[in-house]
């Protein structure tokens, strides 16, 4: 007997999908700027990338406000509980049709591995991209801000490292959305807000 619980609220879903679209677009333009291919061309790619970055910053302002006012930020507090069980599940259990070791509730909607992964993105990859990207945007102000000795090469390299990590995360993240009860369960939940649980 399964029951349906409301996991993802309307703003959260809006935040997720608009952020997903922005990040994918940022990546698309990023590797254009990087010279991997030429879809928009360097000049337009730079302009679009900057606009998308500012839009994402705007979105985050709302998202951060939402997380703190709703207390949802607690969803990202890391835990070691069931981490091993989750890893065992992904490495072995999932192939033997074993039961999912984590039962999600509205208070714990991310499994322990998700918590760790998202926290890593929030604490490491995100800030790396924000800080280096922000500096990149304000390159002409460095001297005025007393950052004259900063190396553009280091900033650019840091931004590139962040981009590669974000791309790797995106691939793993998209794949793991299919690791629910049914391949589409998690994706449906992110669209409708409702997730079926056992």
């Amino acid at each position: 007997m399964s029951e349906r619980i409301y996991v993802f609220k309307r703003f959260e879903r809006f935040w997720h999908w608009s952020q997903a679209a922005l990040i994918i677009f940022l990546m698309l333009t990023a590797f254009d700027i990087h010279g991997v291919y030429s879809i928009f061309g360097f000049e337009k790619a730079v302009a679009y990338h900057s606009t998308a970055a500012w839009t994402l910053i705007g979105l985050w302002v709302f998202a951060i406000f939402w997380h703190f006012t709703t207390g949802e930020w607690k969803q990202y507090i890391p835990t070691t509980e069931k981490v091993v069980a989750m890893m065992n599940y992904y490495l072995f259990g999932i192939f033997k049709n074993a039961p999912h070791p984590f039962r999600l509730t509205t208070l714990r909607k991310h499994n322990p591995l998700q918590r760790l992964a998202y926290l890593f993105i929030l604490v490491c990859v995100g800030p790396l991209l924000w800080v280096t990207g922000g500096l990149y945007l304000f390159y002409d102000k460095w001297a005025a801000w007393g950052l004259g000795n900063l190396s553009l090469e280091w900033v650019a390299t840091g931004h590139t490292i962040g981009a590669f990590m974000m791309l790797a995360f995106l691939i793993a993240h998209v794949y793991l959305t299919t690791a629910g009860h049914t391949p589409m369960a998690h994706i449906k939940a992110m669209i409708t807000g409702w997730e079926e649980v056992d």
Partner: protein, 536 residues
Amino acid sequence: MKTRLIKTTLALCCASWLASGPAYAEETKPEPKPVKLTTTADHTKFKQLQKTFDSGPEVTKACLECHTEAAGQIHRTKHWKWEFMNPDTKQVLGKKKVLNNFCISIPSNYASCTSCHVGYGWKDANFDFSKEENVDCIVCHDTTGNYRKPPGFAGNPVTRDTEFPPGSGKIIKGIDLSKIAQKVGKSSRDTCGSCHFNGGGGDGVKHGDMDSSLAAPTKAIDVHMDAEGLDFTCGTCHKSSSHDVAGSRYTPTAKDDKGIQVRGKAGSGNPATCVACHDNAPHKKEARLNQHATRIACQTCHIPTYARGGIATKITWDWSTAGKRDKDGKHITLKDAKGRITYESRKGDFTLAENVKPEYAWFNGEVKYTLLTDKIEKSEQRTPINRMGGSPADGKSMIWPMKVFRGSQPYDPVNKTLITPHTAGNDDTGFWKNLDWDKAIPVGMKDSGTPYSGKYDFIKTEMSWPITHMVAPKDKAMGCVECHARESRLAGITGVYLPARDNNRLIDTAGWTIVLLTLLGVIGHGTLRIVTRRKN
């Protein structure tokens, strides 16, 4: 009352609509520009000029009757002295002193070279620079286009039909100085161009960014000089003061951080820079370009190629092959498919090009010349005729476009100096007549006062010319990818990180490896899930 108010309002509306009409019409149908009266004096009315002039100095004397101080002003300028001391390097430069790798040098060749001197009669080293009537007013103030100073006459115009060279059967037609003098006016692109378009011995030869296409250029050739648009003359930027023309190739302004030159503002520098009008942050729409402008000269992006007016510029000149004769012992001239001379017995081999992409270098405005007193060493490296100072770290340098002119020219392998050969001249020792270096070099070296060992060889040289003219309209400025790409125009520029050119290869490899492994991981995991699900 109310009706009147409505009527008045309507009338006002109509009036304002009509008033806005011409502005709209101007956009769709450009009105021809009115002829500008550039002078308040009609020189045809002056008695002093209503006579026959047999020589240039006679005209100058007439000019000086009213313009009493003009010659004195000219006497203080580089245009007159052809000598200039660089205040930073203390090198004594000027046309009289420097060498180049085109026609090389002036000593012993005065009568030919000084056809571009603002004076009359500089035929040898004994020219009297103090004589006021030796100043040539007309060469800069002619408006007729008929004034000529043929090479070989030491800067004098020819007033009576003259056979030149004597015995050649070629007649140089005399010009009527009276008519020309009565039509003097402001200097123009044509007057400046009569010499500066022809540097190096022909149209467009030397500079590449200055040739006769600038006499009446289209907007595409030069956005400022556009004859049907802004119609700048040279003097619009190269503002003269007391006959001294602003701008210098000996002490160029590589970086101008002084902003717009406001009248009366103390400490103003060179008025001929882009910044002097456009300020240091001229890009209104794209602020990012203003940050580019802190390290990159405006010219770098705004002059994407030079020699754009359909006139080729010389790119190389190899003097070492000069002197060949055909089987009849005559001089040889070879031309390419476009009729451009590629070989002359008198001068050697040339290459020419149009729409040339400049080379780029960090440049801080310091130019050091290799003079006759400097020792040079033949090696794999080309000997620089002028060394352009600059580095990414000195805080004074900008990335500048350059025409780098490469050649091979005579030098003395024993004394290790450059050589000033006697080229022009209708005499037995002139190289252009007799093709004999052994005769030409001692004469030239004696005139320049340089010891000569009696031995000559050829040395490879290069000379840099900062590109600054032929500014393209903004929509034709260089695109980002010209520099921001692996195959970058700025490939040789170090000390600056260029996104897309300087990506860290190690990070790229590591990054793509991680991405690929992740992708393989999820594909493997997914496949395994599908396979095991079927089994179960």
